[in-house]
């Protein structure tokens, strides 16, 4: 066992890269759930974003255009879910699952001709003095733009939900949609907007996977990241800043177990691979067990369909 070979700085860097796609998707889903809708189709939206981002980047040679395309693709897919659950009153759980299945299949189909291609490189930040600082440099100042953006997004969502009127209205819709409706707010439109936002974020997270983290396109490359994002929203008790903690924790465990293997630790690789999921369960239990905290944060109308009777 050779702990001296473990490089904490590059570990931290890898961890942040691993956590970002999940963080992006989770932020979007948090907003959706705050408005009272449970969208289980995050996995489908992420992978559609992954292929859309990849394909458009390759076609245009510009990764930023690709990421934009990914956001649009994710939002469009999410709006199908939105239409079905808000206008056709379909069951949210089933529709979310259908979205995942459809998204996975559609992405695989669209991605047929893109396997094995290299996307244009996403530039990394390179501030002259700051990036070269010994420890702080790589961890804080040398990432690609998306990592900074994901943290900025979390800050933005926090500000929106807690300090703006629109955010308050959104939260009200999530807590009691009948009351919000009787106050004159258009519940359906607000939820649709939230759903579209969630889709765009998930799409962006998926594009990050295919353009930065791997970077390649493969069928099914999200490998459950969408579901992890859903778990992280619960982990965070629907509070934006806690999302970062959850995403980094999960990303961290994933990266750590590979490093432990490489160090020659005798624990079987299969058992080590289980750890991120087991830790997620344990954390979810701890969070939900605290009934007071949990019930104060889960939007009361989460998952219930709204139908205007007039």
């Amino acid at each position: 066992m050779d702990f001296s070979a473990l490089n904490p700085v590059s570990l931290m860097v890898s961890l942040m890269i691993a956590a970002t796609p999940i963080l992006l998707a989770a932020v979007g889903e948090l907003v959706v759930e705050k408005s009272g809708v449970l969208n289980l189709g995050v996995e489908g939206m992420m992978i559609i974003g992954a292929i859309a981002g990849f394909a458009i980047s390759v076609e245009t040679g510009n990764p930023w255009v690709g990421m934009l395309a990914a956001m649009v693709a994710g939002a469009v897919l999410a709006l199908i879910f939105g239409f079905m659950t808000q206008f056709l009153m379909s069951n949210q759980v089933a529709t979310g699952l259908a979205l995942t299945l459809f998204g996975l299949g559609m992405a695989a189909l669209l991605g047929q001709s893109y396997g094995g291609m290299k996307p244009p490189r996403t530039p990394r930040l390179d501030i002259p003095v700051l990036s070269d600082l010994p420890i702080v440099g790589p961890i804080l100042f040398s990432h690609d733009v998306m990592i900074y953006m994901s943290i900025a997004l979390v800050a933005g969502v926090w500000y929106f939900l807690n300090r703006t009127r629109a955010g308050l209205v959104l939260r009200a819709v999530g807590e009691n949609h009948d009351a919000a409706h009787s106050l004159g707010y258009n519940v359906v439109m607000i939820r649709l907007a939230a759903i579209a936002f969630g889709g765009a974020c998930a799409g962006l997270g998926g594009a990050y996977l295919s353009l930065v983290r791997v970077p390649q396109w493969t069928e099914g490359m999200t490998a459950g990241a969408g579901w992890i994002a859903l778990a992280i929203v619960v982990f965070a008790s629907w509070k934006p800043w806690r999302l970062i903690l959850g995403a980094y924790l999960f990303g961290g465990v994933t990266i750590l177990q590979l490093n432990l293997q490489a160090m020659g630790i005798g624990i079987s690789a299969a058992y080590l691979s289980m750890t991120p999921y087991l830790i997620t369960i344990i954390v979810m239990v701890i969070i939900s067990a605290d009934r007071r905290r949990a019930s104060m944060n889960a939007p009361a109308s989460l998952g219930r369909n709204f139908h205007a009777s007039h």
Partner: protein, 355 residues
Amino acid sequence: MKFTKTLAAATALALGLGGAAIAQTKAGFIYVGPPTDFGWSYEHDQGRLAVEEAFGDMVETSFVASVPEGADAERVMTQMALGGADIIFSTSFGYMDPTLNVAAKFPNVKFEHATGYKRADNVSTYSARFYEGRHVIGLIAGRMTETNTVGYIASFPIPEVVRGINAAYLAAKSVNPDVQFKVVWVYTWFDPGKEADAANALIEQGADVIMQHTDSPAAMTIAEEKGIFAFGQASDMMQFGPNARLSSIIDNWAPYYISRVQAVMDGTWESMDTWDGIKPGMVGIGEFSDKIPADVQAEAQAAVDAIVAGTLHPFTGPINKQDGSVWLAAGETADDGTLAGMNFYVEGIEGELPN
């Protein structure tokens, strides 16, 4: 039963037309992954395309990709056989039992099972002596590493993978006694995300040369980004690592596939086990990159030539097993049987073989 009749009809058709020059031989291929993986399945598909090109109108090929090992594989092969295939190539170890089951039902169809060890009258097995290629790239890795750490991304702890690790390690050690191998088991043949993560973990542990026994170019891409070296696996992977790629092990199934289809057409096909290496062309060594100094290139080329000439066997004693017990005496070379069932690390490799 109904399909015996159909089978008889199909066979009669195939046999009856077998002699005529305009007869069409049908070859079916079943892949465990997508032919666009730029790795294992890609090379098998290249073999299929070579067959099409070699025989033109006389042979019709078809393929089904991404077939899970197990019941689905059995069904796909049965449908291929029902559809009139004369020879079916099942290109993954996990297709073994399904292949044998279908072969039993269709005695007049020939089956070629890659990397398997069970045969029948109408089932042949074939594999490549990848370990010969591992020896060559092991030499290069041993010379090129500056941190004396080589990272190895391994899929499943099966003999073929263990052979590769051992062969590469022995070769690297022979030119660099301080070299260390770090192995990460990803338990998948193809998962670019996991492979990329594994590559990163190994790099974080100090590896500056990466080898893999998985099917995607993810590790090569990461190596390129991080500015370290790597070797292409199954296919050259040059476009993924123009600076990183030192060389590669290339699976070249074309000559074997063409000769087997020819045998079916000539009626000379017989069940056999083929384990070919560099000499017959089944294992190709990718062009040496300019980054490799001339003397190392010469050393590697000499090894290739020696293997082809038969004067060098990658597993030549004295070699001990990891637990210290003697495996090969000085000058003794490993026999195919032990190699086929290899389930131990050689002495010097750290870490336990998952078992």
